[in-house]
């Protein structure tokens, strides 16, 4: 009688462990899918920033070559210079966007409290 009761209780505990494990694994899977979307979005932003930055650098470089050509009026040179400066000013802004993008990714990472115990073997 007592042995049967013990066996049944053990079965209940094992079932709870199995169910908790399955729930936790599903939770991980959902988090994985959500993170994947965040990564895809961040990668798209990064690609866009890369293209824009490359275009800006190409334009600035072309304008500088124009600026140093012979036979231009001072007004033309001044205009080229202003355009170059405006383009160059965008570079730190691209950098800021890239940093924000990265920051959002870092924040999207799951909290490290539990794994930290695993990492240190506490």
């Amino acid at each position: 009688m007592e042995a049967k009761r013990v066996r049944e209780q053990a079965q209940v505990v094992n079932n709870v462990i199995d169910k908790t494990y399955k729930l936790k694994m599903e939770e991980l899977e959902h988090r994985r899918i959500a993170l994947e979307r965040t990564f895809d979005l961040a990668d798209m932003n990064l690609d866009r920033l890369y293209i824009e930055r490359s275009d800006v650098l190409k334009m600035a470089n072309t304008l500088q070559k124009e600026l140093t050509k012979d036979g231009l009026s001072l007004e033309e040179r001044t205009l080229f210079k202003e355009l170059i400066v405006e383009l160059i000013k965008q570079l730190p802004q691209f950098g800021e966007s890239a940093q924000k993008n990265l920051e959002s990714l870092v924040q999207a990472l799951p909290p490290i409290e539990m794994p930290r115990a695993l990492l240190t073997g506490e």
Binding site: V13, Y21, F39, N61, L67, P92
Partner: protein, 206 residues
């Protein structure tokens, strides 16, 4: 009145009554005691069997719990490692872009300086009426350089911050990799070995 020998003997045997009673009680007690002992022994045997069963189940539960925990930890850490690696990769791409910007800005500054020096030389050799025009061109290049420097400094700071973040993320990714190897049993060690083999293969291909 004189008593007969038989009645005398009867009157002298009165002390046998309690002895007989005690003897009977002892015999009865012995029967009870044996039954009680048997029952107690039986109970102890049952109890020990239940205890062994409890202990077996406890070990089984602990094994199940450990297996579930190890498996969960393994999947959690592998996910974290992958995420950390991807974020680090993202940081590396941002750092590479920042370096590219800095490189381009540096080249523009050098070219402007080079052109400026050329114009200074040209101005020295130029007739007086052309000098003002050349000086104006020099001033434009000086302004250009002055305007580019603050932006270059800002990008330089971003590059440094990205570099620090990349180092932190790489370190975190490495720690996760080691934790998977050391704390997730056979699965963790197998995962680690396969990862290292892949890395070695990629290095050989390069």
């Amino acid at each position: 009145m004189p008593s007969s020998p038989a009645s005398r003997a009867r009157s002298n045997a009165w002390w046998l009554v309690p002895v007989a009673t005690v003897g009977a009680a002892a015999a009865i007690w012995a029967i009870f005691d044996r039954e009680a002992r048997d029952a107690r022994n039986q109970w102890e045997r049952d109890w020990k069997r239940v205890q062994r069963s409890v202990e077996d189940h406890r070990r089984n539960i602990q094994r199940n719990l450990n297996r579930a925990q190890t498996s969960y930890d393994f999947h959690l850490l592998v996910d974290l490692h992958f995420s950390s690696f991807r974020v680090a990769d993202h940081a590396y791409s941002s750092l590479r872009d920042a370096r590219k910007s800095l490189d381009a800005m540096g080249k523009m500054l050098v070219q402007a300086k080079h052109r400026k020096n050329e114009l200074i030389q040209k101005k020295r050799a130029a007739p007086f009426e052309e000098r003002q025009q050349i000086q104006a061109e020099i001033d434009i290049l000086t302004e250009l350089r002055d305007d580019i420097f603050p932006d270059k400094d800002a990008v330089k700071q971003q590059r440094d911050e990205l570099h620090s973040e990349l180092k932190r993320l790489n370190n975190q990714t490495h720690q996760l990799k080691i934790a998977i190897r050391d704390r997730c049993g056979y699965k963790g060690r197998d995962w680690y070995n396969r990862l290292e083999e892949r890395k070695a293969r990629n290095r050989r291909r390069k």
